[in-house]
């Protein structure tokens, strides 16, 4: 109850943050003096230090809780703090998920200067994942935290379905990087489903999507983190090879299955019983086939993405403007869009616009080809992964999927025994 009261208090405290309404001025003179336009000031340097301090402190706290203390309660408190601070107080920005785009753009864009704070927000969770696993996801990420806090009862999803759905974050990540490096859009920020809650206002459709995700989070663990988050694949890669990995218990597993049922993200794998028999040669042949198919799949998807690059490039505002100009030229309309009005009003030249669009479309061709190849690689590797048998004699954590929420600790009877012994 205390925990719930804390969540409620935090939400109420933050409710004072209002969204700014925008509306055109009256088009007649009434003598009213309009106030000067107020632009949002960039984050003050102090707050950036506080942000980084909070990030490191909370991740360290989570790492201590799951590795040393093997308890969940601190993670809940970290979640509350994260939602309150990174979510409501800092309005969900800077966030590590979105920083992927800034880093990508900085890698290809000579004119883009990457802020150090953004770089740290990108690199620190990955570093912690390499050291301790996905401690950032546990409760430091406000998106994960808010889903964790509303989670009540877990209805498990079929693993064959979740395996397929786990491709989505990779595809999302690839597209996010593609649109970032082509300077088209930061789609992660643009289609952020929870930012509307944190800022108490925003696009209705996204808020609705966020509400549906939260509702889903009540009955299944972290749907956003598992099936959408484009930062999760990167953390998974490093978490898989983490130096200090989280363990359910230090005692011997008794295969009671309780932890498996408790895990909200289905990251605990049961012992492999190998009930379905298959000839070894058949498995090897399949694996070899996928290795052969992999480059073809990469080439095919690269080819398709390259062909689709002109359509994809419409995400860029200059290309959209050029499309509008083309349509207007082909079928002139009396009422034109603001973009066209601005373009023609400022004496924009179609030839110059065309040159810009050509450059953008060349970029799109190049990066779309790479993106297609990467998507082919992801799908191919997924097929290879699903073709490899791994033997397990007891319940084990799949560290790539584990979000370090710590829920399994209290379910494990071995841990209870251990604590009882310690208490005695």
């Amino acid at each position: 109850m205390k925990r719930l009261f804390s969540i409620l208090s935090s939400l109420l405290l933050m409710s004072g943050i209002g969204a700014q309404n925008r509306f055109p001025k009256p088009d007649f003179e009434s003598g009213y003096q309009y106030p000067d336009i107020q632009h949002a000031l960039p984050n003050e340097q102090l707050w950036l230090y506080v942000d980084i301090f909070m990030l490191v402190a909370l991740m360290s706290f989570v790492a201590w809780a799951i590795l040393k203390k093997r308890t969940r309660k601190p993670i809940i408190w970290v979640s509350v703090i994260s939602v309150a601070y990174f979510g409501f107080f800092r309005s969900g920005c800077v966030c590590s998920i979105g920083s992927v785009q800034n880093v990508s753009l900085a890698l290809v864009g000579h004119t883009y200067i990457l802020p150090v704070s953004v770089l740290l927000f990108f690199i620190l969770p990955i570093l912690f994942a390499f050291l301790f696993g996905r401690v950032f996801c546990a409760g430091v990420c406000p998106f994960g935290a808010i889903q964790e806090l509303v989670n009540i009862k877990n209805y498990r999803l079929s693993r064959s379905v979740t395996s397929v759905l786990s491709i989505i974050p990779w595809v999302y990540l690839i597209f996010a990087v593609l649109y970032a490096v082509t300077r088209s859009s930061f789609i992660i920020c643009r289609f952020d489903p929870f930012i509307g809650f944190f800022r108490l206002g925003g696009d209705f459709g996204l808020i609705l999507f966020g509400a549906l995700l939260l509702l889903a989070s009540v009955f299944t663990g972290r749907p956003f983190c598992r099936f959408i988050c484009p930062y999760a694949p990167l953390l998974s890669l490093f978490s898989r090879v983490a130096i200090w990995k989280v363990q359910i218990t230090k005692q011997k597993c008794i295969n009671c299955e309780l932890c498996h049922n408790a895990c909200p993200v289905d990251a605990i794998r049961p012992p492999y019983e190998n009930k379905v028999k298959e000839q070894r040669l058949q498995g090897v042949k399949r694996l070899l086939m996928y290795f052969v198919v992999l480059p073809f799949m990469m080439v095919a998807l690269a080819f398709i993405m390259r062909y689709a690059s002109d359509d994809l490039s419409r995400a860029h505002k200059e290309v959209r403007l050029y499309d509008m100009v083309q349509k207007q030229e082909a079928d002139p309309q009396d009422k034109i869009t603001l973009e066209l009005e601005s373009f023609f009003g400022q004496g924009g030249k179609i030839s110059e616009l065309k040159q810009k669009v050509n450059v953008i479309q060349q970029d799109y061709k190049r990066y779309s080809t790479i993106a297609g190849a990467l998507m082919g690689l992801v799908i191919g590797l997924m097929l290879i992964k699903l073709s490899i048998k791994r033997s397990r004699k007891e319940y084990e954590i799949e560290h790539a999927d584990c979000v370090d929420c710590g829920k399994c600790f209290s379910y494990c009877p071995q841990n209870s025994i251990c604590k009882s012994v310690l208490l005695k």
């Binding site: 969540i7 009862k153 209705f204 298959e278 398709i304 030229e329 009396d334 009003g345 379910y411």
Partner: protein, 622 residues
């Protein structure tokens, strides 16, 4: 007990949330497309305010409505936002309740939903991934194979069109570079003219705005030389500013009548007899010249550029050029037109303060007398198999455009000062090449339009239809004329009709001789017309009876002009015919001028300005 209460609260809040969500979503979609500041009432009032800017009560009414609309909008937005907060609050209550309900709950092993073996799960997942990847690839490949050729073809067409436009733009750009790009800079100022002449023009405008029955016949010329000489050393000769204007195609009100005096009756273009000046027009066209003060306006166009020219009436010097460029909606590729119509067949019109021009691209430009562009817009590319040819008509500060094409059938009134639409009327008529004219009925102006199938009169102020007579057919190229409140309209393959402007009743009809492109002109007693097959005839305005006819062996596209009791008429071959405008309708003289002439000449005191198919020249008695 505690669990039951929590469960019930959870159920109630769930029902509440679902209901509230439905209401909010409905409200959102209802309010989404509503633009409170563009309601019909406010827009109508704003238009009224544009027409009558000095009405404080109306402005106050608009302010109040605007304020109410804004309040309503923001109240609605606030309600929506409060609803969202309420929903969030309910969500919190729901989560708290359900958490209490599940407080003691532990996830214990239940029925396994997955297959019993991990390898089977992996195999199934692999199948799903494989199927999805194959499906996506197949769909994408189909898309590439079937869609791309069409897309590329379409893209190529558009790009070709745009490339053409770029070429056009660059050519125009070059022209602009040679003659500076900004309209202000393109003016080659005439040292002879200055404020004095402009004031005189304004005087002439005030005269022209009165009906023809007013004192327009005054032929005095304002000699501003006495003012000018002391100020301008280079001014060596007195410069006269003619007071009689010819503000549109076929003179003021586009009625074929001018009050100009001392008009030469003989000239020779080749020999130079009575020719004041002759100038080349940079680009071709069939539009007729327009005179206001010392300025002559005319248009020219080709695939590269559409331009409005201003010439000095006294010297023939090109004072300024204004190109129709950078107009939103202007097509990249000029519409196809026949060679004899071209892109600049519609004549310009002026009120002495603004001069407006239209081209077959649908581009309308308007400049002040110094050539500074005031506004420009494209009113839609006309679908016209010969090319758009209806001339403009400026009446006070209104610019009338008869926009009867295949794709548009409307009459548009624009404010000459800013190009804002004053009103627009959809017409139930077909494509036409006729031009609007003003007729005075009981001293009240009526805007007369001819088209297939009607002659229609509109109130020029409001655009309301006054009467409509369906009597025409086919391709209507001639325009109406009027005298004594009677409107005459005639078109080849149809008939000539006399209509009482008071009630729109048909007085008589005649089918003896009918014009194709040349517009008739009427006096109190007679109406005169010229056919495209060489007959020039006069009819009784009271009965429609044929009075006289002349077989000239010529072809006539130029319209008849009534000047000093004479009818002036050019044949296409450039032969001038002068008839007496009376019952006798004698051919007083006819002579070759030397160049083909399709346009209608403009008259002012002592001068005629003629556009031929090669040049523009001014006739003035030596």
């Amino acid at each position: 007990m505690k669990k039951i209460i929590a469960r019930n609260i959870a159920i109630i809040t769930a029902i509440f949330m679902i209901t509230l969500s439905i209401m909010l979503i409905t409200n959102y979609f209802q309010a989404k497309d509503v633009s409170p500041l563009q309601t019909q009432v406010v827009e109508t009032l704003k238009k009224l305010n544009d027409q009558n800017a000095d009405n404080p009560q109306l402005q106050e009414q608009i302010r109040q409505l605007d304020l109410m609309a804004r309040k309503a909008y923001f109240i609605n937005m606030d309600h929506l936002m409060r609803g969202v907060y309420l929903l969030l609050g309910m969500l919190v209550v729901f989560i708290v309740s359900i958490r209490i309900y599940f407080a003691q709950h532990k996830d214990i092993p239940d029925k396994e939903i997955d297959l019993i073996d991990e390898w089977a799960i992996q195999s199934q997942a692999r199948k799903y991934v494989g199927l999805i990847a194959t499906g996506l690839t197949a769909v994408a490949l189909l898309f590439v194979v079937f869609s791309m050729p069409f897309m590329q073809a379409s893209k190529n067409n558009t790009e070709t069109a745009l490339a053409q436009k770029d070429t056009n733009s660059s050519i125009v750009g070059n022209t602009i570079n040679e003659a500076p790009s900004l309209p202000e800079e393109t003016i080659e100022t005439n040292p002879v003219e200055n404020t004095g002449s402009i004031e005189s023009e304004e005087e002439s405008v005030s005269v022209e705005e009165t009906p023809l029955s007013s004192k327009e016949s005054t032929t005095e010329e304002i000699d501003v030389a006495s003012v000018e000489t002391s100020e301008k050393a280079e001014t060596t000769a007195p410069v006269s500013v003619p007071k009689v204007t010819s503000n549109a195609f076929r003179g003021n009100d586009a009625n074929g009548i001018t009050q100009a005096k001392n008009i030469p009756v003989k000239w020779d273009l080749q020999g130079g007899s009575n020719i004041a000046w002759k100038s080349e027009i940079p680009r071709g066209g069939q539009s007729s010249p327009v005179i206001n003060g010392n300025r002559v306006f005319i248009t020219g166009a080709d695939a590269q550029a559409r331009e409005l020219y201003c010439y000095d009436l006294n010297t023939g010097k090109l004072l300024w050029t204004l190109a129709a460029v950078n107009i939103a909606g202007s097509p990249s590729q000029v519409p196809k037109t026949t060679e004899d119509t071209g892109l600049a067949s519609a004549s310009v019109s002026t009120n002495g303060k603004q001069v407006c021009a239209i081209f077959a691209t649908g581009d309308v430009i308007c400049a002040n007398m110094e050539g500074k562009q005031l506004w420009a817009k494209n009113i839609g590319v006309p679908d016209n198999h010969y090319g758009y040819a209806s001339s403009l008509l400026v009446f006070k500060n209104q610019l009338f455009i008869q926009y009867d094409n295949r794709n548009t059938h409307k009459l548009i009134a624009l404010n000459t000062e800013n190009g804002k639409e004053l009103w627009s009327k959809e017409r139930a008529d077909k494509i036409a090449w006729s031009s609007p004219s003003i007729a005075y009925v009981n001293n009240q102006p009526q805007l007369i339009l001819m088209s297939d199938p009607s002659i229609t009169a509109y109130n020029p102020t409001t655009g309301d239809q006054i009467w409509r007579v369906e009597c025409l057919m086919g391709e209507v190229g001639a325009s109406a004329c009027s005298a004594d409140g009677i409107i005459f309209g005639a078109s080849e393959y149809a008939k000539m009709v006399a209509i009482n402007g008071t009630d729109g009743s048909v007085l008589w009809e005649s089918m003896d001789y009918l014009p194709e492109a040349s517009s008739p002109v009427a006096t109190h007693d007679n109406i005169y017309l010229a056919t495209s097959y060489g007959v020039v005839a006069s009819f009784d305005t009271k009965t429609g009876e044929l009075k006289k006819e002349h077989e000239t062996g010529e072809e006539f596209y130029s319209s008849l002009m009534l000047v000093e009791g004479k009818i002036y008429l050019f044949s296409n071959g450039g032969k001038m015919h002068i008839f007496s405008a009376d019952d006798e309708f004698k051919l007083l003289d006819s002579f070759e001028t030397g160049e083909n002439t399709y346009a209608t000449p403009a008259f002012t005191d002592g001068r005629i300005v003629v556009r031929t198919d090669q040049s523009i020249y001014c006739v003035k008695a030596n």
